[in-house]
Symmetry: none
Subunit: 247 residues, 2 copies
């Protein structure tokens, strides 16, 4: 595709929003991690890990965008390099297991249930991401592999969602009453924001134009900010309230 001025710059702006939000989140998590009891602090640390890795990924992707097109006086056209969303999948393979692990920590899951949850989340998470990664190479011609790999990936996604649901609703009863609405909010926030990723995967199939690319990057950025930053803040607030309660 070629992009007109506003299409091109919107994408560039949105990337900047993305990595600035990650950097801002990093400051927040570093400075507030001492507000909770030591056993929950690891969650803030892990949010920090997510922030830094996502910051780097979005910085790289944004620089790639800037260098992949140049202004020819009328439109932005392909320059010497190619733009690719594959960097996102690499980032997810760090962030998805870590984000799910945080949930186990903050909800106070321990022992065998913790180990089981961690293994399922990690294996299914990586399974979901790498099968999707293979599939996205076929997004241009949208041949059978695009759909087959996407479907396998979706199976893993459903496994993850089922376990998240069980983790949230299986533990909410044990948590202090005042944080229960927040705990349930974790489920809805995760469900809503994670669904955006398969939505973005499908976008070239339903909206195959420069505007579709713009919409896709906006979707990814909203999803990233909600699933990483807002989610992390929500868990941090829960950890802080639970810590006060146990004090």
């Amino acid at each position: 595709f070629t992009y007109d001025f506003s299409q091109y710059t919107i994408v560039s702006h949105v990337f900047t929003l993305g990595y600035a939000a990650m950097a801002a989140g990093l400051v927040y998590f570093v400075l507030t991690s001492r507000n909770s009891l030591p056993r929950y602090r690891l969650s803030s640390t892990l949010s920090g890990v997510v922030m830094l890795s996502a910051f780097l990924e979005l910085l790289v992707i944004s620089q790639r965008w800037d260098s992949a097109f140049r202004w020819d006086g009328e439109a932005f056209v392909q320059a010497g390099t190619l733009f690719s969303n594959g960097y996102r999948y690499m980032n997810w393979s760090i962030d998805v297991p870590v984000l799910l692990l945080q949930m186990l920590i903050v909800f106070g899951v321990t022992g065998a249930a913790f180990r089981r949850g961690w293994i399922v989340f990690t294996v299914a998470g990586l399974g979901m991401i790498y099968t999707g990664y293979v599939g996205q190479f076929h997004e241009v011609e949208r041949s059978a592999p695009f759909w087959v790999w996407g479907s396998i990936s979706t199976v893993f996604f459903l496994v993850i969602l089922a376990l998240v649901y069980r983790t949230v609703y299986g533990n909410v009863g044990r948590m202090p009453a005042e944080v229960r609405p927040l705990v349930k909010a974790v489920w809805w926030l995760l469900l809503g924001s994670w669904m955006l990723y398969p939505g973005a995967y499908l976008m070239p199939a339903i909206w195959d134009s420069a505007d579709g690319v713009v919409a896709r990057q906006i979707t990814y950025t909203v999803a990233d900010i909600v699933s990483k930053v807002v989610y992390g803040i929500l868990l941090a607030v829960i950890a802080q309230k639970v810590s006060k309660h146990e004090h």
Copy 2:
């Protein structure tokens, strides 16, 4: 436009002032956050968030400026990329909600009033910014959308100002006498510095030249330093004095 040597370098210098001020602010807020009681510390943390995200935005915008023009022996002319102010809007969508949230924290607003304030500030803030963002794409030809979106954005702005006024004057009576002048100063500082942003939005309409661009970037930078750094310091000082009082 093309820019002569001093026009071009003034803008470049002013950007450097902008991001250096944010970096300096970051150091200040990190190092002084322990001077207040824990319940006010979040305000310093949030100032840190604002500083880092604004630092990145101004760094990006300044690099874009540097690469968007080159010296042709007589003047600075358009090079391969285009310069755009849209990055600012992305940054505002992080900073505006956070700056307003800080006010609620430092003025000791709690419970339902806190939640209501936060929601109104966030929704109206994002409404103001994204409608303005859409409008600024029309700043070159200044057609109807420029004025329509700008007006909608202004409505949100007035909602915010009204709530800020109520927050300041509704809480000043509860605060210790010695900080009251500072609390009122928050209102005037916010009013004065935030008004510069719509002023900068209008500038291409009233002063459509290279000098106008220079004036606009100076305006933005002054507004950024006052509304983020000076404002944050003022709130930090208030929090510190109130903490001493409550001790």
